[in-house]
């Protein structure tokens, strides 16, 4: 163990596993296929939940999570092409929280895009958000990949406009993950129409990456790990052979393959959530493919939180979950099995005790 003079190739050969561990300088792992110009990286930070206490005081725990993610993302060498923020910047959608969060995000030395989360939306229906970050849904092209950002945390009009006497009450009701008075997330008809028109202009061979806050799947309704019109959105994506959906909201590692669509969740920087299997009264449809993240030690406030960087190669995603206090997890699309797999732990015999959630 004396000589660790390794370059990345040696490490990869030695480990027998192609992994871009959470180390830097970051170099793009050379996968077996694809030309050099199809490769690029971007970072994804999500679910900061900046929470206002009073005056100029914010909950220190969540602040530190975002601070650390931004500081580490700034260390990436070579620089990622951009950073995506996955939603829930604020906890209760207040101007103070959004401003404080935006100020911390502004320290990123990379171009930043944002996804809307329910905690950002339900106080003023995204009005202040638009002033800070622009449109709630949009698309852009980058190095041959078509990126789409949806606002997938909308819900039924009746709940949004008529149910609650005040905006604050509405926000508080949606803020409780397990609140029986909540309402299921959806993309909604207007955005689905927009998406249909947007995708009509895209060649079928173009890889698609769709950013969303809710999972565009129906995983567990009790905690809104749910998108009510998931099937309809998935149907719009069906014609494209290479599609990845990256979503936040769940504060845990999840990944899945549904037909042609690869799904990856992202970690929260703020706090982890239990897996639905930890709720004894729940019936859920969590993907069996997912190897769970390690259980958190609540003493270490950053345990089971983190951020991620993504290697893109010919439109396929390799996601490196950069976990604090834990070995990072790399989940990548495996062309042989045509599904995302963890590079180390997918085989049940390789699992470790902290991955056992009950």
């Amino acid at each position: 163990m004396n000589d660790f003079r390794l370059n990345r190739r040696d490490f990869i050969k030695r480990a027998g596993v192609a992994t871009a561990a959470a180390a830097f300088p970051l170099s793009v792992v050379e996968l077996a296929f694809g030309a050099a110009q199809d490769k690029f990286t971007f970072a994804h930070i999500s679910d900061a939940h900046i929470q206002h206490v009073k005056g100029t005081e914010f909950v220190r725990n969540w602040d530190r999570g975002l601070i650390r993610a931004v500081a580490e993302a700034n260390l990436l060498t070579p620089k990622p092409d951009f950073v995506m923020f996955g939603g829930d910047l604020a906890q209760l959608g207040t101007k103070e929280e959004l401003d404080h969060g935006a100020e911390m995000l502004s320290r990123l030395r990379h171009k930043t895009y944002c996804v809307m989360g329910e905690h950002d939306y339900y106080l003023d229906l995204g009005e202040y958000w638009s002033k800070l970050f622009g449109p709630h849904y949009y698309s852009f092209d980058h190095k041959g990949v078509h990126f789409v950002v949806l606002n997938s945390i909308l819900t039924y009009d009746e709940w949004t406009y008529n149910r609650w006497p005040t905006a604050r009450q509405r926000m508080l009701e949606m803020a409780g993950l397990d609140n029986p008075n909540g309402s299921p997330f959806m993309v909604g008809e207007k955005q689905r129409e927009w998406l249909r028109a947007d995708l009509a202009r895209v060649a079928k061979t173009t890889p698609i990456v769709l950013f969303s806050h809710s999972p565009i799947q129906k995983l567990y309704k009790g905690w809104n790990f749910w998108t009510e019109d998931a099937e309809q959105v998935q149907a719009l994506l069906k014609p494209f052979p290479t599609v990845t959906v990256i979503y936040g909201h769940v504060h845990q590692i999840q990944y899945n393959q549904v037909g042609n669509i690869t799904f990856h969740s992202v970690m929260a920087t703020a706090w982890p959530w239990p897996y639905p299997q930890s709720y004894a009264q729940a019936e859920h449809a969590m993907p069996k493919l997912t190897v769970p993240m390690n259980r958190a030690d609540p003493f270490f406030e950053r345990d089971a939180t983190g951020w991620q960087f993504i290697d893109m190669d010919t439109g396929r995603v390799m996601m490196d979950y950069n976990l604090y206090n834990n070995t990072s997890r790399v989940v990548a699309y495996n062309p042989a099995t045509r599904q995302p797999e963890d590079r180390v732990y997918q085989d049940p015999s390789k699992r470790i005790p902290p991955q056992d959630h009950y």
């Binding site: 409780g176 959530w273 239990p274 639905p276 930890s278 004894a280 009264q281 609540p298 003493f299 406030e301």
Partner: protein, 137 residues
């Protein structure tokens, strides 16, 4: 002498028991009793749920439900157990206090505080049906 005293005492007790039994039948609880007592319990569970989602246990506005929706991942069935964060074997309410003091930055509750009982009631209720597994990490 001893045998006679014992027999006499025994006889007296049996007689008294029979008389009392005739009057009160105190050990025969009814379905209505059970329902009533279950509702008493659920009233406290509701209080626990209210505390669970409120910010009143801490000082920074953080609630238990933020990390433990439906009290998931609290594992009441594993207590008492060795709790790494306290370095010794503890009962559930000690861990509740740890959470109140640490992530919530609040004041610990007395072990017999009605709020503590309510929290434990809610936690246990959300975990109903799960087998006891004391000591499990």
């Amino acid at each position: 002498m001893k045998a006679i005293t014992v027999t006499a005492t025994l006889g007296a007790v049996l007689l008294a028991g029979t008389i009392i039994g005739f009057l009160a039948q105190a050990d025969e609880f009814t379905k209505k009793d059970q329902e009533r007592w279950q509702n008493e319990y659920m009233a406290v569970v509701q209080k626990g749920r209210a505390l669970w989602t409120s910010a009143e246990l801490g000082t920074k506005g953080v609630a238990c439900a933020q990390c433990h929706p439906n009290a998931a991942n609290t594992h009441p069935e594993t207590y008492p157990k060795f709790q790494q964060q306290l370095g010794r074997v503890i009962a559930l309410r000690e861990m509740i206090n740890w959470c109140i003091q640490q992530p919530l930055e609040g004041k610990p509750l007395a072990f017999d505080d009605p709020k503590m009982i309510a929290l434990e009631s809610y936690i246990a209720y959300e975990r109903r049906g799960v087998r006891m597994d004391p000591g499990k990490h």
